[in-house]
Amino acid sequence: MVNLEVKLKDLVLKNPVMTASGTFGFGEEFADFIDLSDLGGIIVKGTTRHHREGNPYPRMAETPSGMLNAVGLQNKGVENFCQDIYPRIKDYQTNVMVNVSGSVIEDYVETAAMINELEHIPGIELNISCPNVKEGGMAFGTSCASAQEVVRAVRQVYKKHLMVKLSPNVTDIASIAKAVESEGADSVSLINTLLGMAIDAETRKPLLSTVTGGLSGPAVKPVALRMVWQVAQAVNIPVVGLGGIMNAKDAIEFILAGATALQIGTANFIDPQVSVKIVEGIKDYMIRHQVSDINDLIGAIDLK
């Protein structure tokens, strides 16, 4: 028997594998393919104060070893989440966290306050890094001062686990991580998508309606791994790693770089069972390497 249980401060995950917001719907979309209770946690679709239609089609372009998306936080708003969606998903036997997005601080605060009242939601992931929303989103996550400001405001109303999702579109991600830690973030997750673009040479048109979008998939993995490693050394709160994880080998690499837990994102689109396969693969790795506790692998990169 190996121990897969990890802790993000007081939040206990039965294993380190979570699913990333925006790639896993509300979990329901995957219930035909896997048993959701096999996961350490799921982070449901980005939720905002008010209904958002998102960006016009086309919103997606396949790129080498990855994809660009420009969904633009399409969602029905936090009230709809609390009334319609929460009752359907509250009894999942895993940690269901809500990704909270916004474009002004008041929206983040009001959304977080409403989710604070939901008994079966043990935490939120504060999204200060969405690249696809015109006014705000990523802007909060690209300077220490604005990141601190939004985390400070949300911390006052949100009493449970506060994970902050960081943008890779910055010069020094470790300084942003330290800034949100200083305002009371319980953990940080990284990376959100990298800002990118794609053009159709034949038609001379951009492939996304918004011209630019967020790059994800294996193409971003080395960048994500580097940033997780840098942040893990800079902060004392747990780091949740994501960015191009396709299999258990990738997952182990993030843990060795310092991630306490992981999120599986784009890979869910290609193999809806991949998250559970990664849990199994991590177990196999531990048995093969005679590691009885996953916590012994966190940050265990051998730099000698």
Binding site: E29, D32, E62, T266, F269, D271
Partner: protein, 254 residues
Amino acid sequence: MKKLIQDFELVKYEELNCEHFVLDIKANEALPEILPGQFVNVRVDNNNSVFLRRPLSIHNVDYDRNVIQLFVKRIGEGTKSLGELKIGDKLSVVYPLGNSFSIPKNAKTLLIGGGCGVAPLLYLSRYLHEAGNEVTTILGVRSSYDAVGLKAYEPYGRILVTTEDGSQGEKGYPTQHSVLENESFDYSFTCGPEPMMKAVAAYSESKGVSCEVSLENTMACGFGACLCCVTDTKKGNKCVCTEGPVFNIKDLKW
């Protein structure tokens, strides 16, 4: 309707011409019920530059042999690589995805397909025929060279062709076929290039015919998680993969 992920085996490859081919893929176990208009999302494992699955319409289903038939046009890297699979190769398939065409009873139905948009119409014509409908299918192609696979439609009704160069059937686009003026229909169904579907929608609207179209927006997942394949409807953005691919034109902003 439960969605599945399963490995299928390629059991038959039929080249129709240099652009089009039909794949017969076989499951290890009994197929679930598959409705006309639904699609599969297949993984292209024989080409590393293809990252996402490729959504493909279901052309026909043989429940006795657990075989799904896919009608494919070589368009990009993904479909080209699918055409290079060998008999016995495995194919990971997520299915059955999407909603389906409505099946009326004992009505006069008109099916119009263009390009690779003909793919779901064979299975639809079979369902319509079995429900006692009179089925007329018009396939619009560039020339007789592309008028492939017509025989398969014959058991289910009348099959008509239009060619842009007049080399087979009537010359012109499928929406210009004389049968549209000379006869009346109760229901129309279409799949193909958007300008053609819009022409079918306009014809149907002018004649008071109920019209359903099957959309082919690009998508990442195929089961409602990525929200990439939306189309703008009168009720806001809807996912083509789960709330479509079939839409009644009265719900679209066309």
